[in-house]
């Protein structure tokens, strides 16, 4: 089945076509959801919620744009909405100025695997994690992030810098080893 026929059938709520679409995009989208959450279960919850939205709002998709980008956007908004709704995340959305260490300059590029990098992102406090995902990976500017999260541009900018600094620190081989050994213990 080519993509065009899948899309046409999805519009008609054809379950088989929906499944094909899901199978095509689910692994990448789960990676996105995983970056925003703290557990795989939560990431799968977001993915489920996101795909339900995708299929129920499929008529809103304009073929002029990329389908993956459209689904991606839905997943990001669903993930943020999920964080807002769940107390265990909401309580960690701390945007105060003193939660992380001071800004440091990057010292080098790590040879860590993608999965390891993403694990590091997920180790950040939820607020920093969200901002870093939006600014560092999704590419939103701080004005947009301030609107999404209801914080000031300045806060977004400084939180991003601190999150980035912390990640750099963790990426550093010795820090990373310490972290790994702590985990193993």
């Amino acid at each position: 089945m080519d993509e065009k026929s899948i899309l046409d059938l999805c519009r008609k709520n054809n379950r088989q076509a929906q499944k094909s679409l899901y199978q095509l995009h689910a692994p990448f989208m789960l990676g996105v959801c995983y970056r925003y959450t703290k557990s795989r279960d939560d990431a799968e919850d977001v993915l489920q919620e996101g795909f339900v939205k995708v299929f129920t709002q499929f008529h809103q998709y304009k073929e002029s744009g990329s389908l993956q980008a459209w689904i991606y956007k839905i997943m990001v908004t669903t993930a943020i909405s999920y964080l807002r709704r769940h107390k265990r995340y909401r309580s960690q959305m701390d945007f105060s100025e003193n939660a992380l260490h001071p800004v440091v300059e990057p010292r080098g590029i790590s040879n860590l695997q993608t999965a390891d990098l993403m694990e590091l992102v997920r180790k950040l406090p939820t607020g920093y994690q969200t901002i870093f995902n939006l600014a560092g990976i999704e590419g939103y500017d701080h004005t947009e992030i301030s609107e999404i999260l209801g914080i000031s541009v300045q806060t977004s900018r400084s939180q991003y810098s601190r999150a980035r600094a912390q990640l750099i620190k963790w990426v550093d081989a010795s820090e990373w080893q310490v972290l790994k050994s702590k985990e193993n213990n």
Binding site: P27, E44, L47, R85, R90, I109, V121
Partner: protein, 479 residues
């Protein structure tokens, strides 16, 4: 962009994970459930209209009944042939449907008058001409009626003492003036009754309030409104004070001399106004009046009490047709620690307090249970035939349960396609106790919440319609 940023971005956009094999079946199940719910949504849409229609129907029929009653009260009395006590033909009571329904709570005078009652011949207004006076009549009485507002029972009792001819009936005053003219009395309580009626005989039949039966059907529409989350960051989305203007229509039927209902604005919680059934908004005042359909406009200001998430002070006023209210009070809207079932096949549950945290975000779905405690002071100016006022201190507890169903919004309801759009239709039922009175209500809502998407200004809009049906249980009538 340095290597770190590039690496991170690249890593983030390439990262993939294989979902659990059973996840698709969860999605499929949820899609099937949504399909069923979408069908049910039409019923949610229908419900408010049905409620309005039934209200209008009832209101229309109420008026019909009143008209009939007034026609019946125009009577011609022929000379009394059967009762030797009534040789002069002065009849002080009527045999009407209302008369047959007199309550057992009658005075001795009333009882003696009732003994003199005999069937009367009823004619229409048009037939009242000198020609119809029977030749043998010594006196002819034409009775006209006027509806009066008697606010307190004491007023009736005072009248009873002054006018031995008076008999209580259902909020009607009958003036007998010898057939020469029909006379309408002004508001009975405020006028000097003895002067007004001296030249004529007066008969007032008032039925004691049947009970505190009352029904309120009302609708309110709130216009575009910024909500809390436009001002608050994510971790501060507590209930906050705010300002709300509501314009709407209301329908009241007030059963007998019993109960009025204060419509929507009294004690509405800024953050839960469209989520609460029969909530602080339904309070009772004593007043005798007919069903009324009116337009309602008002405003309220809620002030958050520092250090508290849920306690607010409310100040407001409103005008409804011939009715002005000012109110103030304290409100505490707290949730019960019941489990709130959240939609989704993950089987996740969350505690009801979530409800508050979402506040105006309206992102709650599923069942929830709430407990509200409210106290307040209310001053009402009410005009049935004349202006009267009641003040009232009220307090109550409301326990409610509701179910809200998220919906897809009709395109065009929100100003921008880029806005995240949420809509809920809901049905809530609750039970309310205010001093001496129990009530229960059904509440339907249809609202739209729109919040900003990534590339828009951080505005939120609210548009909504709510309909409220409230019934006071006649369990503690004090006559």
């Amino acid at each position: 962009m340095d290597g770190f940023d590039e690496n991170m971005k690249k890593g983030g956009t390439q990262f993939e994970m294989e979902p659990s094999p059973e996840l698709w079946s969860h999605i499929e199940k949820q899609l099937d459930e949504n399909k069923d719910k979408r069908r049910a949504i039409w019923l949610w849409w229908l419900l408010p209209f049905l409620m309005v229609a039934s209200g209008v129907y009832w209101y229309t029929n109420q008026n019909k009944d009143i008209t009939t009653l007034e026609d019946e009260l125009i009577t011609v009395v022929s000379p009394d042939q059967e009762n030797p006590k009534k040789k002069d033909g002065i009849i002080n009571a009527q045999k009407t449907e209302e008369g047959n329904q007199l309550s057992g709570n009658q005075s001795p005078i009333t009882e003696s008058l009732k003994q003199q009652v005999r069937p009367l011949q009823s004619i229409s207004k048009d037939q009242i001409t000198p020609d119809i006076i029977p030749a043998e009549a010594k006196t002819m009485q034409v009775n006209a009626t006027a509806t009066v507002s008697i606010v307190r029972k004491e007023a009736y009792e005072r009248l009873l003492k002054k006018l031995p001819q008076i008999e209580f009936s259902k909020s009607s005053l009958t003036i007998i003036d010898g057939g020469k003219q029909l006379k309408q009395l002004p508001a009975l309580v405020d006028s000097e009754v003895s002067k007004a009626i001296q030249p004529i005989s007066i008969k007032v039949k008032t039925e004691e309030a049947d009970s505190l039966n009352s029904v309120l059907v009302s609708a309110a529409v709130a216009g575009r409104e910024k909500t809390d989350s436009t001002k608050k960051s994510l971790n501060k989305n507590k209930a906050n004070g705010g300002f709300r203007i509501i314009i709407g229509t209301g329908f009241h039927n007030l059963g007998g001399k019993g109960l009025g209902l204060n419509p929507l604005l009294d004690g509405i919680n800024n953050s839960t106004v469209f989520n609460s059934p029969g909530n602080p908004g339904s309070s009772a005042v004593l007043q005798p009046t007919r069903a009324r359909l009116g337009f309602m406009v008002g405003a309220e200001k809620t002030i958050k009490i520092k250090g508290s998430n849920r306690i607010e002070w409310v100040i407001g006023s409103q005008y409804q047709y011939q009715r002005i209210e000012a109110f103030t009070g304290n409100r505490s809207d707290s949730s019960l620690p019941f489990i709130s079932n959240r939609r989704g096949s993950s089987g996740e549950t969350s505690m009801a307090p979530y409800y508050y945290n979402v506040g105006n975000n309206q992102s709650h779905i599923g069942h929830q249970h709430r407990l509200s405690i409210h106290t307040g002071l209310q001053l009402t100016l009410d005009k049935a035939k004349h202006w009267s006022w009641q003040n009232r201190i009220y307090g109550g507890i409301i326990i409610s349960s509701d179910y809200l169903q998220p919906q897809t919004i009709i395109p065009g309801w929100v100003p921008s396609a880029n806005l995240i759009r949420k809509s809920h239709a809901g049905l809530e039922t609750g039970i309310q106790y205010t001093y001496g009175r129990w009530g229960t209500g059904v509440f339907a809502q249809q609202n739209v919440t729109a919040s900003s998407n990534f590339r828009n200004l951080p505005k939120q809009y609210w548009r909504g319609l709510e309909l409220r049906f409230f019934y006071n249980i006649p369990s503690s009538v004090k006559k």
